[in-house]
Symmetry: C2
Amino acid sequence: MTTFDDATAVTKRDEGRYDAQADPRFALVLAGGSGAPPAVNGGVLMATVLRAVLDAAPNPHPVATSANFLRVPRLGPAEVQVTWLKQGKTASTARAALIQDGAVVVDMTVTTGTVPDGAVSAPSRAAEGYGGEALDWTGKQPAFPPLSDCVDLGRWPGTEGANGVAGFAAHVTVLLDPATTGWRDGEPAGIPEMLGYVTLREPREPDALLLALAVDALPPVVFGLGATGWAPTVELTWHMRAVPRPGPLAVATRSRHVSGGWFDEEAEVWDADGRLVAQSRQLARVGRGRIRPLRGADGVVGSAAEPLRGRS
Amino acid sequence: MTTFDDATAVTKRDEGRYDAQADPRFALVLAGGSGAPPAVNGGVLMATVLRAVLDAAPNPHPVATSANFLRVPRLGPAEVQVTWLKQGKTASTARAALIQDGAVVVDMTVTTGTVPDGAVSAPSRAAEGYGGEALDWTGKQPAFPPLSDCVDLGRWPGTEGANGVAGFAAHVTVLLDPATTGWRDGEPAGIPEMLGYVTLREPREPDALLLALAVDALPPVVFGLGATGWAPTVELTWHMRAVPRPGPLAVATRSRHVSGGWFDEEAEVWDADGRLVAQSRQLARVGRGRIRPLRGADGVVGSAAEPLRGRS
């Protein structure tokens, strides 16, 4: 069992009630040096709640997951509660929540169903004008660079856990297109886009739970605009579109609009066979400070928070 | 008061409980001639629930709304229940549900906050490397054709209400880029994209509630692939990014992937001042039949369902 599987494990206590953890091994550090408590990566929290939902789901895949991140979890025990609103052959929907001390930390709605697995899709039937399950169409894949050309981020700002715990970056390899890593040297590309690859450091093939991790694994896309402060996710919805084949997950993120302290971050996840396996969009807050990365030979090895200056 | 405002009205009965309607004036017809009961446009149902949420919200705008469409509503009375999970200065989150006969018809999670209003945004601060509310950035606007070049869809398939009710198309003007209307003549463009404009037929300026309508107002984007059957929305999440200025709403939709009977539909809504005011993505089911449009002088005036043939 990998650290990821152990950290996201749930134990059934009663019908629709599970014991879980906000696991310190995937902790992030809030605004560098601010003394704020460590958070846990949002994708890891989603995977934890999804385990409880899938435990009693009538369909195999989480086709639509909406998550609202309401509070920073305390590192430690939590409870997951699952309530089914509808159970059907094509789609079933549950409400689920990660709860600590009687308060909802993450609130989710999950629709389960069945998405294509394995075999190459049938040829497009679009031209024939028929719909239903025979229809198969995919947009153009983003231009991912070869994996060997990408930069291993190492411990980028925010990914080192507190209290001597290695945190998120110790368990997840994030390889980024060097064209989208200028923010590490204080030279952001000026556009909110990133391209990269996500794998666990331990050997483990991708599945629905790893897709939940992948859609929120890259650094906040506004780092590309130089806003490298802590950027908490408010709402994230992702759709599973196919069962991923073995291999690294290619992830492309972009933002379409940043204003009023809010930004959207869209992610597409493609598997090693070049299939679009997940899509997400999150609404998040732009960080108010900026974190000045301190680079070492293997990437960012520390960070120092600077107060915000020159705001209008 | 416009028909839209009347149809989406709610009356407070008790704390967090509101009387509402699944209003026949915005009814759609399920798969033409199938005898299935009429549905109500999903955007109109979202607007109804949002009224109840906003009635007691501590923040003015619905910045993130996730809706799961679980059951086809019966045309008639409904109840909206609202429960607040968190109330904060920056963001507050409520769960809300449209309920009929004790069953949840539409289940929603809504986060309220404040988005920019009115004034032209401040110049980009991205180059300075500062984050927070000063940062302002927007991606490229889709190439909307002039409104005068667009085709008034009239009563496109699915928009005529049953029982002599005029339905959705009688209250909402949908003008489409003629390059994306080939499906009306059995000649779909072969790509799942549409560009158009949405206004109410009655004079009424856009606001958050009309944005909820706009993100689900165009015909299903898979019509562009020839799949013109009934395409029920399963999950739809939309983000309000700015308060819209007066004038028609420009809406661009596209799909990125269609397989296994599922398709995503993304919508961007731009206001008359060229500002990105809303974004959405929905996961929906591809229709299993196809509807053969019967064209009249003013567009589609009827439709005939055909059974599905030639499926693999």
